[in-house]
Symmetry: C2
Subunit: 109 residues, 2 copies
Amino acid sequence: MKQYQHPTADQITLTGVLHALSDPVRLNYVQCLAAVACEQACGAIATPVAKSTMSHHIRVLREAGVIQVRPAGTQSLISLRWAELNGKFPGLLDAVLNAVDSTDPVASK
Amino acid sequence: MKQYQHPTADQITLTGVLHALSDPVRLNYVQCLAAVACEQACGAIATPVAKSTMSHHIRVLREAGVIQVRPAGTQSLISLRWAELNGKFPGLLDAVLNAVDSTDPVASK
C-alpha cells in the first residue's frame, strides 16, 4: 500500500504553509476540508481542475504539512493537520480561512 | 519622479498576500517594517540579498498590496498597508507575524 511522506511538526515552516495556501485551488480545498472537519476521500471534494493537477496540489499541501494523506484500501483519505498547525502557528489557519472572501473567486466558491 | 502602481483595497487578494508573505526574505522584511511601525527608506532595513533581488521582492510586496512605496526626492519610502490589510483580512497579518519563528531561519533573524 502506498505510503506518503509527511513533515514532522518541527519540519513545518511558516513560509511553506503560506506558499501552500497561496493558490486559490489549494485554499479552496483546505476551506472545504475545514468545513467538513473529518477525513475525506481524495476526490470527494469537487475541484475545478483536472485530477492530475489536483494530485499536484494535494502533494504541495501534504509536503507543506497542511494535510495528512492516509492510504485506505484503494483510496487515500485526507484530513487537515489542524491541531499541529494551530499548535505551531496559533490563529493562523483561522485567520486565513476567515479571510477567504469574494476577492478570490475560485477560493470563495 | 517615479510613481508606483498599487492595487486598491478592493484589488488586494488573499492568495496574492499569502504568496507575497511566503518567501523568507519578504516575510523578514515585512516583520521589520511592522516592528518599526513607520515609513522606512528603501535600503534602510538590512536584508541578506543583493539590491536587485530586494527590488524584486519589494515589487512583489507592493503589487500584492502588502506595502506602500512612496517616492521622496531621490529615494523611496516604504510602509506596511497595515490598516487596509487588517480591514480586509482581520487578524491575518497579526497571526502571520506571531507565527514567524525559528522554523524559518532567515525570517526569524
